[in-house]
């Protein structure tokens, strides 16, 4: 416990190490199998699979972000989809501006929808988005700032539990209504689409898609390590203390609102990054990404995988979305019922989620180091 968190203590346990290892391997192996192995080979990974799994990886990053606030600090956000979508819009705006004169109306600067609306000049909100670093900064800063403002008021006024959940849900709903409006300036109903290239590479090219996959895998690994660093620090113990006995934590002298604000903002930025990586892979961002149902789905991923485990949240996102892909291929109209049933069954029979339950069966030593809030020193008491 006295050691600074090295990369090894952050991996912390076999589960985390395997998780990061698999992601790093996938970041290399999947692009190779996609690009270098001929389609005739049984080892070839088709591009549509790369794109599909790449999308799941961004969902997994969103789930890790959500687990950080919900699993460790008890803040049940029903609006994390908004942070994800805002990050997505920041990326979408960059991609729109890359189209340049190649749009249908061939305007040198204005995206097609603005020309269509007879706008004469670029709205201020769009300035600077032709620069990739600026757009990426915004993908983090805008969700972070929104989380800061919302958290500042909510946490200071000690809004907790279901009331906080409702506020976050109202936030994403309000944003959805806003973004649906044409005069809001972000493409209205249709959103942003018809992207051409990213950093000079064609967005449709298999090479670009493989690269986006690799970047998503690396982003998920980094997000996991950052979250892990937070929850294994003493600050992480304070978060769990707040989750379990908020007022007790105050009586120890901790400003609970500051801790909540910190973790909420970090989480929102992580969700924003996930959204920014999602958009170039799916090729579109529109206001339906703000739909309250999206945020609720993310909560289900975390619950299914196991809240307060980080790896479980990521696996939950991937598994549920894999199931969704399969289901929507076979019985599309039944997916929502299946999702609901999955949530109910998990809550009833696996309240700790898949990973949480598995850890319960594992050898004690490993399980202990995995439990939220337990210090790394537990796994290695002698030093």
């Amino acid at each position: 416990m006295s050691r600074r968190p090295s990369i090894l203590t952050l991996l912390g346990d076999r589960g985390g190490a395997v998780f990061v290892g698999v992601l790093l391997a996938a970041a290399v192996v999947v692009p190779v199998l996609n690009l270098a192995v001929p389609p005739s080979s049984p080892f070839h990974v088709p591009t549509h699979t790369v794109v599909l799994v790449g999308k799941w990886l961004t969902y997994a990053l969103l789930a890790v972000a959500l687990d950080l606030v919900w699993g460790y600090c008890g803040i049940l956000s029903l609006g994390h989809g908004a942070f994800f979508a805002l990050g997505g819009y920041a990326m979408g705006m960059y991609l729109m501006r890359q189209i340049g004169p190649r749009g249908v109306y061939a305007h040198p600067v204005l995206p097609d929808f603005m020309v269509f609306l007879n706008w004469r000049e670029l709205p201020v909100a769009w300035w600077g988005f032709q620069h990739f670093p600026y757009a990426m900064l915004m993908a983090l800063a805008v969700p972070g700032l929104l989380a800061f403002c919302l958290g500042w008021f909510a946490f200071r006024s000690r809004v907790t539990g279901v009331y906080l959940s409702i506020i976050t849900q109202a936030m994403t709903y309000a944003l959805m209504l806003g973004f649906f409006r044409n005069n809001f300036g972000f493409g209205g109903n249709n959103g942003l689409t018809d992207f051409k290239d990213i950093l000079g590479f064609s967005i449709q090219a298999p090479g670009t898609r493989a690269a986006l996959f690799a970047v998503s895998a690396l982003a998920l690994a980094s997000g996991f390590l950052i979250a892990r660093a937070i929850v294994t620090s003493k600050l992480g113990k304070v978060l769990v203390a707040i989750r379990d006995a908020e007022s007790r934590t105050r009586f120890l002298g901790y400003k609970v609102e500051h801790y909540k604000l910190f973790v909420f903002v970090v989480s929102a930025m992580m969700a924003g990054l996930a959204g920014a990586l999602y958009v170039p892979q799916v090729g579109i961002i529109n206001p339906s990404e703000f739909a309250p149902a999206n945020s609720i789905e993310a909560v289900i991923w975390v619950a299914v995988g196991g809240r307060g485990t980080l790896t479980g949240a990521a696996l939950g996102a991937i598994l549920v979305n894999a199931a969704k892909s399969w289901f929507t291929g076979v019985l599309p109209e039944l997916w929502l019922f299946a999702l609901g049933a999955l949530f109910v069954l998990t809550t009833l029979f696996l309240p700790k989620g898949l990973v949480g339950t598995l850890l319960g069966f594992w050898p004690r030593r490993w399980a202990r180091s995995h439990k939220p809030g337990l210090s790394a020193s537990v796994a290695q008491p002698a030093e």
Binding site: S2, A245, S247, R250, Y254, V256, S375
Partner: protein, 251 residues
């Protein structure tokens, strides 16, 4: 240099009242605690003992009155975290420990030190902190169970863990609400001994119904009734008070 303090008392409650839905739980309560003093508070159920602690620690805002700490701070204007940082620690009537943390981490979280977000993100346990943890865990007899989850402790052990957390905070003033509820006679005697030892270096207010325990402490007693002070003095003095016998002791 001129002493700007309003009062030499460590804690001074001045005409404090609070009502819940019209019911006066604390009614014009005044009380003074000297530095280094240990005070026992007794009184019937609903007398307002816990509510008094809620007011001192910032959990409840009084409708009227002031609570002056160390002659300088009006606690009624501060929040829980500020009051804790000033040096007031509290043990709750119902033991509240962090159940999903280990025993050791419970004490670690209470350990005196920086309370800021950044400081705790980069916190590493120093040798001095480690020694202090060992010392406190030994004192409250939980050293064998330090790596176990606090949820697995018995009721009495949770009480002791909470006292250990108080010690870790090292506050100038400890508020201890019914520390021996649910303890065996032997544990009760040990707790009295522990509190006396703590009192050597800290001021203490202890609320308790167990008269044997209060006698064991051997300190000045304040009897609370319907939100105000009914009597004050040694246990023998207040026991001889007719009103006290009538409302409390003689039940």
């Amino acid at each position: 240099m001129q002493d700007l303090r309003i009062t030499p008392a460590l804690l001074y409650l001045d005409g404090v009242s609070v009502a819940f839905d019209g019911f006066k739980a604390i009614n014009n309560l005044s009380l003074t605690l000297d530095p280094g003093e240990m005070r026992a508070i007794i009184g019937p159920n609903g007398a307002g003992k816990t509510t008094m602690m809620d007011i001192i620690t910032g959990k409840t805002r009084p409708d009227e009155g002031r609570v002056i700490f160390q002659g300088a701070h009006d606690l009624t204007t501060l929040d829980e975290a500020d009051i804790a940082t000033l040096g007031i620690g509290r043990k709750f009537q119902k033991p509240t420990v962090f159940e999903s943390h280990t025993v050791e981490d419970n004490v670690l979280l209470a350990l005196k030190g920086a309370r800021g977000v950044v400081a705790n993100l980069f916190h590493t346990l120093s040798g001095a902190e480690r020694d202090r943890l060992d010392e406190i865990l030994a004192l409250v007899k939980l050293i064998e169970r330090r790596y176990e989850l606090a949820a697995h402790l018995s009721h009495g052990q949770k009480q002791w863990l909470e006292i250990g957390m108080l010690l870790a905070q090292d506050p100038a003033l400890l508020l201890v609400d019914e520390p021996v509820a649910g303890m065996t006679d032997a544990e009760t005697a040990e707790t009295a001994e522990l509190l006396r030892r703590i009192n050597a270096t800290h001021s203490v207010i202890v609320v308790e119904h167990d008269m044997a325990f209060v006698r064991d402490l051997g300190v000045k007693v304040t009897v609370l009734h319907e939100g105000s002070v009914l009597a004050e003095g040694s246990l023998d003095q207040v026991s001889a008070n007719e009103r006290v016998v009538e409302v409390y002791l003689g039940r």
